[in-house]
């Protein structure tokens, strides 16, 4: 009887340890998996900031052009002014039309030379922000009426809710 009991206890001990090992394995796997998912999510938001910036500067409504020849890294001041006015007068443009493209983000141009003006081209900042990703690049602002290029910084900030 005692021998059988010992045998049973041995078997139960082995099973217990086996289940413990399985449990550790599951914890490993889920930890690795969630870490991987978190990294992918972060990478996606960084990519999104770059995509929003590229989409904004390539919009015909903003970019500099001369008879359809594109001037890279440049925003036309008169177009930007008209764009900002159109978006402010028509909430549907901001809340739906351009939201599809830019999402929760803030796009601004800060002039460095000659002046120090700041133009907020698009602004849809959510109330609850989990994280943000920022993309900065120098850019020209072209004044067609004077035919001059000023120097500034183009900033895109993308928000995660």
């Amino acid at each position: 009887m005692k021998k059988a009991q010992i045998r049973m206890f041995e078997t139960i001990a082995v099973l217990f340890i086996f289940i413990l090992l399985i449990g550790f394995g599951l914890v490993f796997y889920s930890r690795m998996h969630s870490q991987g998912m978190f990294d992918r999510r972060e990478e996606r938001y960084e990519k999104h900031a770059i995509e929003v910036a590229q989409a904004a500067v390539s919009l015909p409504e903003l970019k500099c052009s001369s008879y359809n020849t594109v001037v890279s890294d440049c925003i036309d001041y008169l177009k930007a002014e008209a764009f900002i006015e159109a978006v402010s007068q028509n909430p549907g443009l901001k809340n739906e039309y351009y939201f599809d493209l830019f999402g929760y983000s803030r796009i601004e141009f800060r002039e460095i030379f000659p002046g120090g003006s700041v133009f907020v081209i698009y602004d849809f900042v959510p109330e609850d922000i989990v994280s943000r990703s920022t993309f900065n690049t120098p850019m020209s602002l072209y004044y067609p009426s004077r035919r001059t290029y000023s120097l500034g910084m183009f900033t895109v900030e993308v928000y995660e809710i």
Binding site: P60, N68, D76, K79, Y97, D100, R147
Partner: protein
Amino acid sequence: MAPKKGVIEVQFNWIFILIAGALILGFFGAVIMRSRPIAEDMLAEPILTSMNAIITSTGISTRTAMFVEIPEEKISFSCERFSVGAFSQPIPETNIVFAPSETEGSFLIAWAFDFNIPHHITNFLFITSPDKRYVFLDPSNSQEVQRIYDLIPSHVRKQKFSTQHFSVDGSSETRIVFFSSAGMPSGIQHDVQDGISAIRVDTSSNKVYFYERTDSGIVEKEADYFGDAMLLGAVFSQDFEDYECNVRKIIKKINVVNRVYHRRTARLQQAYPAYCYYVPNHFPHQITSLSASLPQLINSKNLLEQYSRELDKRSCPPVY
């Protein structure tokens, strides 16, 4: 008498092993079954990301075909969304995409085409796959049709015939594009079925006709186009509804861009002397339908092209 204790013990042992083994196998089997759809969804995620980048045209130069490698997953497109498996993403209203309803295979062909009137409005994105065939039929063998045909990249499976008869073998999905103002031959209409679609293009009136088979026979649906980009859009669109949906997006984009140019031109008009002839009304921005506004758009395009040459001669800043 042989002891019976050992016999019973062995049997119990085996029963115990069987139950434990079944439980363990069942447990792992359940884990595998539950993680399989998760793995499939994880496969969809990078496809969605790369398709999204392509659709927002961040990675495509215009008029250059790009091969997009995709895993062997079915991708479905509509005017407003695209989906991979159970996951779908919206196509932004600012983006015009002409794509087949479904593609399957290891790669897609994507190319962007600029839409100018004459100022740049947007880029259209055309998506197709190597198994889709595009057949141009041009009985008059005109240079205009050849020019349009040459706009399509050579990687796209295309053919051109100077005839109005064409026998379809049905081995691959085919879109027949027939150029004529006189009507679609009944032979081609008869060929329209699942996997074979046809459109007729009348370049003299800027009209395109979609032919669809219904229960009551072949139905002809008329639409307008403006410029090469929209004509190619008709060639690559799924059907009349898909084309019209994209036309609505195009009209909205024209209005938005023209509104900006309208105001910009007004400012230039104030800043420069009268010999720099700036006319804000050359940028109509309250278009509601293409058919109603087509003459106005064509007229504005011609005027803008004419005046831009004059502005250039007078050293005035470009109007667009």
